[in-house]
């Protein structure tokens, strides 16, 4: 999982003006960690305009479109936390998990996130993470319990 969600891809304590600003910030982190080429960021914004990637429980999972897969170098995730919250179409988002995926390697981490979201106390802990280690251990410990 370390390679999928590298420590440098975890950014805590950020601020965003609005939903698209949050997505716009999620993209360059994926570029920095070597997951995608820059044009992928535009595809993330396009995808967000089509259908919101907000999941509920204060989480959103911005990612590109099917057509933008060519800009992905490697399947990786980013984790951006906006403690003050960002207004989304259907509530407030605290965490954006940016996704760039060519294969299915990230299924375990997303499965872990899916399980965390169904347990409100765990979702709250992940939203309030203060160190990258907390994020990794919460997502990792749930991943181990996958099917």
């Amino acid at each position: 999982m370390a390679a999928l969600l590298p420590r440098e891809g975890i950014r805590l304590g950020l601020k965003a003006a609005d939903r698209f600003d949050a997505v716009r910030q999620s993209g360059p982190v994926l570029v920095e960690i070597g997951a995608v080429e820059a044009p992928y960021v535009d595809a993330m914004l396009e995808r967000e305009r089509q259908i919101s990637t907000s999941l509920g429980e204060g989480f959103a999972i911005p990612h590109g479109t099917d057509a933008s897969r060519g800009w992905i170098r490697e399947t990786m995730l980013s984790f951006l936390q906006f403690p003050e919250g960002v207004a989304w179409d259907d509530g407030e988002v605290i965490v954006c998990v940016g996704i760039a995926a060519v294969g299915d390697e990230h299924v375990g981490v997303l499965a872990s996130l899916a399980r965390i979201l169904t347990v409100p106390e765990q979702a709250a802990r992940l939203r309030a993470a203060e160190r990258p280690e907390d994020v990794l251990s919460l997502l990792g410990s749930n991943e181990e319990t996958k099917r």
Partner: protein, 101 residues
């Protein structure tokens, strides 16, 4: 369209890119269908496999899904967490009821 829950072998969760929400929802549906023989997989909406019995997708992709997979039951949801559409699918499969969509 309608299908009997007992006839469902494969549920496909489709999203636009097939890399985000569909992956996440597959986990939740698999957990809820544990103990049944039903296969749950994710797919981009443009590549829904021919052997899908039921397609689950966001309301915004419903028309596309119906175009790609004519004649299949398509269940659309609006919320990722706790949408009654998921309950409908799980209940139909677990209790062998008709699933319309």
């Amino acid at each position: 369209m309608a299908i009997q829950g007992t006839d469902v072998r494969k549920v496909v969760v489709a999203c636009e890119a097939g890399m985000g929400s569909s992956v996440l929802l597959v986990t939740q549906l698999r957990d809820r269908l544990k103990g049944t023989d039903v296969v749950v997989q994710h797919s981009p909406v443009s590549q829904i496999p021919a052997d899908a019995d039921v397609i689950v997708c966001h309301r915004g992709l419903e028309a596309t899904a119906r175009g790609v997979a004519p004649g299949k039951v398509v269940v659309a949801f609006s919320m990722f967490l706790g949408d009654p559409a998921f309950d409908r699918v799980v209940e139909a499969i677990r209790e062998g009821k008709a699933l319309e969509g």
